[in-house]
Symmetry: C2
Subunit: 242 residues, 2 copies
C-alpha cells in the first residue's frame, strides 16, 4: 500500500543513520529507500543499526544526484526543520499522510530528507512542491534524521489504516459481565458484607452505591467476576468458621 | 505543559539510546527523564547522541528500581510491542496523548519503555493501568527505543497544541491576489496572446478557461502576479519590436 512513496536521503553523513532509517521504514511497512550520494555506504554501522531491516538496506538504490532519484515522481516533498525566507506551501506529517496516502495510486511520491547538519539546500527545495515540517520545540527543532523518518512513516502507516485494530479494554475472548451477572454479584457482595459484620452501624445504601461505582467503572469480564465471587465465598466461609 | 509526564526507561542497555531518547524528548519540549538501573550511565555515547539535549541528560534521575520512579504517579502506562497473553486495556500513542495531555494537570503520568531486547517484564506491566502500543508492521514490530519515544512524545506535543500554526500556502506577509487583480491579469494575458499572435485560429474562450484553471489553482500572491505581468509586458514589447 505504501509502495508508491519513496524515502530519499540526500548526502547522509553517518551510515548508522541510514541503517536506523531502514529500520524505521520497515517498522512502518515501507521499503522504498533511495540514497543520494551517501558519504559512506554500504557500511557495517548501517547494517548494525538496521537491526533486521537489512533487506531494506540491500534493496536501497544509490544514485549520484537528486534529479535521478525523483525523476519518476509526480509529487516531491522536502522535509525541513528551518523556516525558509521564501515561504513554501507547508504540510505537517499528518496532513502529508492524509493527503497522499490514498491520493492516486499511480502517482509516485518522494519525501526528501537532507544532510544531518544542514538539511536540504535551496536549489533542492526548488524541486519540491511542498515543505514537510514536523511540529516540534521551536528552540530545539532539529530531529535526528531517523527520528524524523520514523515520525513521517508512522503517520503514513496510520493514515493508510494498516495497523491492527486496537480496542481500549479489549479482553480477547472473555465476554464482559452482563447487568444480570453484575446484580447477582452485588447481591452476593452485600450478603457477604453482612456475614463478615462489616455492615454493623454502616448504611448499606450509601456503601453499596460507592462499591457499585467502583465495579461498574472497571467493566468486569466474566472471568474476573468469577474470581471476585470466589473471594466473596471464601470470606463468607472464613467468617462462618470463626 | 508536558511537565506532568515523565518518560521512564527501564534497564536500558546501550547508553547511546539514552542520549537519543533525551534528544527526542527535548525536540518535543519534554524533559522529565527517569532511568531505572541503566547498564551504563553517564556515558560519552549518551552525551554524543543527545546532540545538544545534554541538559535533559544531566537532569535525568537515576534510580535502582521501577517502584521508586513511579511512586508519585497516578497513571502508569507501559509501552509494549508484543501482544500479551493477559490482555490489558490498550492505547495507541494518539489515544494516549488525547486522553492524558490535558486530563488533569495535577495528575502525574509515567510512560515506561523497557529493555531494548525484551521490553517490560510481566511484573512491571502489573504496575501499569494501560499498555501503549505503537501501530506498526506486525511482521517487524520492534522499534528502536528512541524511535518509540520520538513517536509518543510527538503525539503528546501535537495533542498539547504546542506547535506553531502551519498553514498550507501561507506566504508570510505577501497578500494573495484579489479577484479584481486576477481579472486584470487575465485581461492582460488575453491581450498578450493576441499581440504575440498565439490566438490565430484558436478559440480564445476555451484557451482562456484552461489558463484560468491553472492560475486559479495556484493561488497567486501579489508579488508573483507582478512578476507574471512583467513577463507579459516584455512579451508584448518584444512582439511589437519584431
Amino acid at each position: 500500500m505504501l509502495s508508491h512513496i519513496k524515502i530519499v536521503l540526500v548526502e547522509t553523513t553517518h551510515p548508522g543513520n541510514i541503517g536506523a532509517v531502514a529500520r524505521a521504514m520497515k517498522n512502518m511497512q515501507m521499503s522504498n529507500l533511495w540514497l543520494v550520494a551517501p558519504k559512506i555506504f554500504p557500511s557495517a554501522d548501517a547494517t548494525s543499526r538496521a537491526s533486521g531491516a537489512d533487506d531494506v538496506l540491500s534493496k536501497a538504490i544509490v544514485c549520484s544526484n537528486l534529479q535521478e532519484a525523483i525523476s519518476d515522481c509526480q509529487i516531491v516533498i522536502g522535509a525541513s526543520a528551518r523556516c525558509r525566507t521564501i515561504s513554501w506551501p507547508e504540510l505537517s506529517p499528518r496532513e502529508c499522510a492524509e493527503q497522499f496516502v490514498s491520493h492516486n495510486p499511480d502517482q509516485k511520491i518522494a519525501i526528501l530528507f537532507g544532510r544531518e547538519n544542514s538539511g536540504l539546500k535551496n536549489h533542492e527545495l526548488d524541486l519540491c512542491q511542498y515543505l514537510l515540517r514536523i511540529p516540534c520545540n521551536s528552540e530545539y527543532s532539529s530531529l535526528n534524521i531517523s527520528a524524523a523518518v520514523q515520525v513521517v512513516c508512522y503517520e503514513l502507516f496510520v493514515a493508510a489504516g494498516l495497523q491492527e485494530k486496537i480496542d481500549i479494554g479489549d479482553r480477547g475472548d472473555v465476554p464482559l459481565a452482563t447487568a444480570e451477572q453484575m446484580e447477582s454479584f452485588y447481591t452476593h457482595l452485600l450478603q457477604t458484607l453482612y456475614d463478615i459484620n462489616f455492615m454493623q452501624g454502616n448504611s448499606s445504601t450509601s456503601i453499596m452505591r460507592r462499591l457499585r461505582r467502583i465495579y461498574n467503572r472497571v467493566q468486569l469480564d466474566t472471568k474476573e467476576l468469577d474470581i471476585l465471587r470466589g473471594i466473596l465465598r471464601m470470606s463468607q466461609g472464613n467468617k462462618r468458621n470463626n
